[in-house]
Symmetry: C2
Subunit: 333 residues, 2 copies
Amino acid sequence: MGDKYLFTNCIATFLFDSDFKIAEKVENDEVKDYSEWLESEKKLMHKHSKDKIFYIGFKKEKLQGAVMSQDPQKLSRILDFFKKNEFFKSFHEINLLETKMKVRAAVDSDLLVIQTINNIDELNKAANLLIKRLREWYELYNPEFSRSIESHEKFVELILANNKDELLKQIGLSKDKTMGADLPHDDVKSIMNLAKQIDNLYKLRESHTIYLETLMNKSYPNITAVAGSLIGAKIISLAGSLERLVKMPASTVQLLGAEKALFRHMRQKTKPPKHGVIIQHPLLNSAKQKDKGKVARVLADKISIATRVDYYKGQFVGDRLKKEIEERVKQLK
Amino acid sequence: MGDKYLFTNCIATFLFDSDFKIAEKVENDEVKDYSEWLESEKKLMHKHSKDKIFYIGFKKEKLQGAVMSQDPQKLSRILDFFKKNEFFKSFHEINLLETKMKVRAAVDSDLLVIQTINNIDELNKAANLLIKRLREWYELYNPEFSRSIESHEKFVELILANNKDELLKQIGLSKDKTMGADLPHDDVKSIMNLAKQIDNLYKLRESHTIYLETLMNKSYPNITAVAGSLIGAKIISLAGSLERLVKMPASTVQLLGAEKALFRHMRQKTKPPKHGVIIQHPLLNSAKQKDKGKVARVLADKISIATRVDYYKGQFVGDRLKKEIEERVKQLK
């Protein structure tokens, strides 16, 4: 009987009596969202329906039967109550847990895409570092064959699949006319082990590229249609997230990845850059030198539109945007 | 009958008659060494034993029954004979082949050691590049476990062998209190593929280190006993070859790998460096700061001696040299 006060914080939902002592509480053993808090509050309201219940706090949802109390004195008495040491540990733990859950929920496709594209870049770097060594090392053994093949991937594939005699035959060189030393089996094996690992790195890059494509198509279908999965991912990575990319003007998108050249232009009055990473796009890459600036602008415009459609989960318009770029490029010719 | 002239060059061994026309020749279809030339010459001498044969040229080996001719006119007539165009192609081809064979013969343990040690360094660099990415990527999924393990190799090994639940158990964390996101199988698989490749790179580095040890023990037993295979190989690599290392004073050996600090010292009067790559040697590494200079000098002295013993294929004294360093270090304490 008498006035009671309903108050909810992250520890529990409390019902205080008129002396501001806890009459009853429903604990939140897990971090819950507001709809679950509402359930606890309703439960307590129902149980104490004979009392007059004031709802203390800032909650906006209408709680059936509760009188909202705006009395600052009552609020302050309740808040004082929670200043006791015994609650500190609970507050600390629950807040920490809540933050952790927010961190956990923040892992989205942006982060996965950024990790994947950066990883592909780094696999490239690692493979390039090792392939240079492999070439130099292998050239003690079979220099003519190494020099006959420019593609690193093809080179690794062939030396793994064929022995020296077969490779020399392929380039029409007799065994006793090669500059390569006759290395013992163990020495050759060490070289081949390196080749095998480089081959594995190439294969991993391939599989990660396919994985990136899946990620991009799923979360950013419009960007992917217009820019391709690799360039699209690089742009998102350079912007930091899709949200930041959405807020950028198209002219910034056009120059993402050309920051060095841009700042050099601003400081030393060199020519301004016309494009950042989008230069790798086939339409821009194949454009004539004099048209590159125009094509870059069109491309960046459409990527910018695609980004907004993807961000606001709009319908798929990637095909149409791509066609518009192609038509614009055709007019330039 | 009459005077005949015997002359050998890289094309063949020729017997000229008194008009300086070819009477007979024995072709060298392969590049041969001088002992084989001698055989050809003996054969021709024997066949024409009725003639008086003059030996034209600069050869020093005594050729039984031949009269050495020092007559410059005769030599010049024979040399003129070979100025004909028809011989140019042969000379060119044979010289090219001979050079190739020299290149081939120049592949020795120095070159293999240098390639192997540089390769180990580069495997390190590549693995470090990729492990940083793996950590960052994996920490979206299971940050607490990644942070609990410092050793990269152990980390890769454990995440490959256990699933997330098992790993969380190991660090005593419940599944619903981790900050890591619940990633779908495909996303986790891409991360694990990277982990697998990094593990392979670590394993390759291991196997190349063992291979290097074998190479070093076989060709440079004394250097290896004193400096260890990794530091020994680095010193040879920095010097460029064993031959160049032999010619270096011990004080240079002491500073190999500290060139930057040395030149900074010379230009800007900073403190001179006390040691180069030999700092990684356990005896030097564990020495007190004030003793490091002395230990480095002793170590470099002994490595220098070991180098000379290995170069001149002397007896194994590595153990004795190592003991001498250890005793000198003991005296310092």
